[in-house]
């Protein structure tokens, strides 16, 4: 049974206020977050189905780097897009398929799909030169339930440590079975943390998202306390509502392994630093955040469905796509307004309500990250 009691949340401490402006505006703060979070944690890059066959690749931009994610004979690999000869970028397309090897367009140095240098014209005339010394610069890569994660830190802890209890909790959705139904890339003129914060409270829903509030009451559900590497909670569908869609009906079968309780709610989890995972009864919504500047974030939003549904004649994800695209645009708009207002000399930290508990906890973590 969904929780419809709307029980009150804990009362916020008296000093619970939003962060000072520098966390959203200063280049230094941004660089520190890029360094301490995005350069050391596992970052969700995309889906294993994007590299279904050896040589398939796609490119993601992280910390100004263009990272090439590709499939080798044995595993998914990720490399910096840099030839070991004279530094030339190897790959100019956003996605595609390498023909069995990766060749630099400049002097034809050639690498296999595991990044080993296998061709270097005229370098055999150079004594002491050994191909084995010049593999592609590697980036960590691993797959969880169909999601590809990358990590710039060669000494990173395993992904499992970062995901904590989530793989077990979300096992029933069998995310690795799902397939991409739609993708929209948004260019948001706001700090990445404003998007995370916006995602983790629904106090704004009655005012900003009246359509959403008709499907799922903004006071419903429950938050889990902040974890070291993720935060999130559950919201309940209103009676008669089947899923988050334009009219609240669900034209698809529910995902096959969900419990009755799991079919009556939506889970919203932010997995730090860049993944927003929204688990619906019949589909998976994933946002990945790609910060470009203190005031700019690329947001890749994808809808994934069960392949059995996608193969049915007349499969149409529009009800879910339109609903969340509308809601996304409302959210990015206020995130951009917040970014602009927080940049004002007049901005002072403001008081949080009890319904913004996860935001306050997240802010505390960010403050700690900066060593302040």
């Amino acid at each position: 049974m969904p929780d419809t009691s709307h029980k009150p949340r804990d009362v916020m401490p008296e000093h619970a206020r939003t962060l000072p402006a520098r966390y959203y505006v200063d280049r230094e703060c941004f660089d520190r977050e890029m360094d301490r979070l995005f350069a050391h944690m596992w970052v969700c890059a995309g889906r294993a189905e994007q590299v279904a066959h050896p040589g398939d690749f796609f490119v993601r931009e992280l910390l100004g780097e263009r990272i090439v994610i590709t499939r080798g004979p044995a595993s998914v690999n990720a490399f910096y897009n840099v030839c070991r000869h004279r530094g030339t970028q190897l790959c100019t397309e956003a996605h595609g398929t390498f023909p069995g090897s990766i060749q630099c367009p400049y002097h034809a140095w050639t690498y296999d799909l595991d990044g080993c240098l296998i061709g270097a014209p005229h370098m055999d005339e150079v004594p002491h030169f050994r191909k084995a010394d010049y593999p592609l610069h590697r980036v960590g890569s691993v797959v969880w339930d169909g999601h590809v994660f990358i990590n710039l830190d060669p000494r990173a802890a395993p992904l499992e440590a970062q995901l904590g209890a989530l793989p077990a909790r979300f096992r029933a959705w069998r995310m690795e079975d799902l397939r991409l139904g739609h993708r929209i890339v948004y260019d948001v003129r706001a700090n990445w943390k404003l998007i995370v914060q916006n995602y983790n409270e629904c106090l704004h829903c009655p005012n900003l998202h009246p359509a959403l509030n008709k499907l799922s009451h903004y006071l419903s559900g429950e938050n889990e306390p902040l974890q070291p590497t993720y935060m999130g909670g559950r919201m309940d569908l209103r009676p008669g509502i089947e899923t988050m869609s334009m009219d609240g009906t669900c034209p698809r079968a529910f995902l096959p392994h969900l419990s009755p309780e799991e079919r009556r709610c939506v889970y919203y989890y932010a997995i730090f630093p860049n993944m927003l995972l929204s688990l619906h009864p019949d589909y998976l919504l994933v946002h990945t955040l790609w910060p470009l500047a203190p005031d700019r974030t690329i947001n890749i939003c994808e809808w994934h469905f069960h392949p059995a549904e996608m193969q049915r004649p007349g499969f149409n994800p529009a009800d879910a796509v339109e609903f969340w695209d509308m809601t996304n645009r409302q959210d990015w708009h206020v995130c951009e307004l917040s970014q602009a207002g927080i940049s004002s000399r007049a901005y002072t930290p403001g008081p949080y309500s009890n319904r913004e508990d996860l935001l306050f906890a997240f802010d505390q973590m960010i403050v700690g990250l900066h060593g302040e």
Copy 2:
């Protein structure tokens, strides 16, 4: 009788030279001028008729801030465009009318037209929270003769101190009675001081403005010595010329309260830091300057006329608009050329003529402002 003797001006001191390049090029100098002039003096923002009724508002950008000027029940108010909850910008339009109150689009915090917080959903669950602690951040605002001035400094002296003798001197134009006939917004790639300097000498008129020089001889009139907060002077219309217009005739009645002398000349006053006030026998021309960068200034130019004339069938301000728009464009062009040339490593301060007396005085004031 207009002065047609073109009497010689005082001889400039031998060291009278233009300012070093840094005053026009360096970010530091720009920031210091923004801080010491634009953040502490009264800045002309627009006209009271733009906020004729309670709730009417318009927005001006000053020091990167978007200031909302609106009318409350009792007075014209100005506010920073920042919600006290999470810093969101309240107002996204350049002008419009608030429906009796100002509501944040994010979580619906609501303020009355005097800036008091009157609604904050769910904040009543938070102990110690008092609405009275969170009014909108206020900016000083006051009206002189129809002109709205704003001031970012909460401890600013009254506007009267800044205007000095001008309200009495220009009383006869009854500027508060006049109404907007036309507005053009220019984006000028030049330092704001180059526009002020261009405005305060007519030595360039025979070469740059041959049409203007036919209406008003460039050596006519007289300058008032520089005052602490403004500078300006008078130029005389040539015999047979009625006003500054494309053909020198005036298709409108003169303003009703001018003396015969006031009808035979044009007053040009720069009221620091951002207002250029040009009083004609039959209309008022106002430029307001909005510096965006050392080399970029938004220039809002307005033509105001007597409402009795504007209500006549066939009223057409084109003769005055076209004349000054043509002249403005000539001026901004050379200001932009000066900005570009002054940025050259080859630029060295050059000698002023006796006809550039106000510029030299203005430069001295600017040097003093920088504490140099």
Copy 3:
């Protein structure tokens, strides 16, 4: 007889690696190169035919300066584009003809074509003012074999010292007789040194320029060791190939004074800092480089032909223009990819092959220039 033996080059020292990224990315390094090379050496600005008659002018941008190159009664002159009165830029066109004198558009200060101030309205009212004190700021200018060079350093050594042995060696091409057949301006998003380096090795030709490699074998010819102010070498045309053109035939007469050997090869010389001189049997190709930023260079490419050929009915330079335009675009593309890859945190200097000898020597010179 052309050399077809493809003799091996000297072996590179073991530590021969490409430069660290900062040389291509950092603003400081860029500024130092602009200061120590471009502000002190002779820079090729264009051709004497562009200022064929007194008053003809063209403008080049160097170190952010717009330099006006014009012809006076006796010589080619170059000036900063800055009026001595208030710093206004004098010249807004990219090329044209001054009407016997140069007049500032602002206050009509007027200079003759040798840069002397000859008119300054109202300045005669200022005691101590003497026109002779305010000539235009001059830039060094001199012509070699039809090429106009400029120099920002008033104490520069003569151009002859910079050109060394080249005027004698390339005398037979009689470059001053040739005339412009075509010009293309490229905007390349790469450091200027990457363009110089790309120009001075053909190891990339088989992979990047298959069409070029059919005309001239990439291992043919010979490099001259690096000189203090230039570097270059010779490549040989393959048997049956007449010149560098789309099909390898030459629809024009060879230049009249070349030796049989000179007709069988192409000379490629980079004259530091900005000229790439490519001497063909029947035409002259010249690139001049105009760095705008560490990662951006304007590249002006010109094809010059013998006037006797140009006057023939049906003269058409398309075979040569298309060939090099295609080749240029391939080169700029990989230069841009190198710029992007070198900017990566993963980039590390890579090993040079023996065929990149001039690049290693050039890099050593650059390192020395930076005092490192």
